[in-house]
């Protein structure tokens, strides 16, 4: 069942992105930035965690989850160390996405030649 919800919720988030691009004529960069901020705001109201429980990868794979995990890491550390934890904990949960992008970016540049 979780597979179906992952498909539906993930697809729905992509439709929101497509509407931002087509109807509101935002560039892809503006669209992605808006979605990340949306994810962060949703976690601010504790709405994103239930969505992950409900839809699994449908909520963790779209870029909105990046905003969610930034707030999440910051809040987890802030509960332990107060306001300074907001800065120190920011990348605690998100590191895998950014690290993977950097590592595979460099490996990709080593392995592949530009096309076209």
């Amino acid at each position: 069942m979780i597979f179906l919800w992952a498909f539906l919720v993930g697809g729905f988030i992509c439709v929101i992105g497509q509407i931002l691009m087509d109807v509101f004529k935002l560039t892809p960069a503006h669209t992605l930035t808006s979605l990340v901020v949306l994810g962060a705001v949703m976690d601010g109201f504790n709405l994103y965690e239930p969505l992950i429980d409900f839809a699994g990868a449908g909520a963790t794979v779209p870029i909105t989850s990046f905003g969610n995990s930034l707030v999440h890491g910051a809040m987890a550390e802030a509960e332990k160390h107060g306001l300074i934890g907001v800065v120190t904990g920011m990348f605690e949960v998100t590191s895998s996405g950014i690290s993977a992008a950097i590592i595979f970016g460099v490996i990709g540049a080593l392995l592949f030649k530009p096309k076209g």
Binding site: F3, A6, F7, G10, G11, C14, V15, G17, Q18, I19, M21, D22, V23, P28, A29, T31, L32, T33, L35, V36, V37, G39, A40, V41, G44, I52, D53, G56, A57, G58, T60, V61, P62, I63, F66, G67, S69, L70, V71, A74, M75, L83, V86, M90, S96, G97, S99, A100, A101, F104, G105, V106, G108, A109, L111, F112, K113, P114, K115, G116
Partner: protein, 157 residues
């Protein structure tokens, strides 16, 4: 002088009118369907990988998102390197750019594209050219939200 300005204004308005008329109407509904199915399918693959990590590597449903993202970005590297992700992007629009694969593709494709300028000045300094805004404003908004939430929780006890 004012006459000239008015003339320019008129020309601009006229141009915008023609532009609006000639602009190709975007097939919004069809694009949304494509985005829905491709985006949903990528998340479905993500769910398969997540399930794999939960059953074989002792991750919980909450923590399995991280290795899933890393694995998906690895596959994105292969698709980007072989030039397949571009084709998917042309077909799927937001369906391929909203999932984390789109973030990976933005980083990896710029890295590959700029390798001719050298690895430090080309790859290193251009890598986050496209994906940078996402990180910058993601972090800044998360910072504001976390500060507000922390203060709010302190005052409310």
């Amino acid at each position: 002088m004012t006459h000239k300005n008015n003339n320019k204004k008129f020309e601009k308005q006229h141009y915008q009118k023609i532009q609006q008329k000639k602009e190709i109407k975007r097939p919004v509904i069809r694009n949304c369907f494509k985005a829905f199915f491709v985006g949903g399918f990528i998340c479905l693959i993500g769910q398969v990988i997540t399930t794999f990590y939960i059953y074989f590597f002792d991750f919980t449903e909450q923590t399995a998102g991280n290795p899933t993202v890393a694995t998906i970005i690895f596959f994105t590297m292969l698709l980007t390197g072989f030039g397949l992700y571009d084709k998917l992007g042309q077909f799927a629009g937001a369906g391929s750019s909203v999932p984390v694969t789109g973030f990976g593709n933005a980083v990896i494709s710029t890295a590959i594209e700029h390798r001719t300028e050298g690895f430090i000045l080309g790859v290193g300094s251009n890598m986050f050219k496209l994906a940078g805004p996402v990180i910058v404003y993601g972090v800044f908004s998360a910072f504001l939200i976390a500060i507000i939430k922390t203060l709010f929780m302190k005052w409310m006890g």
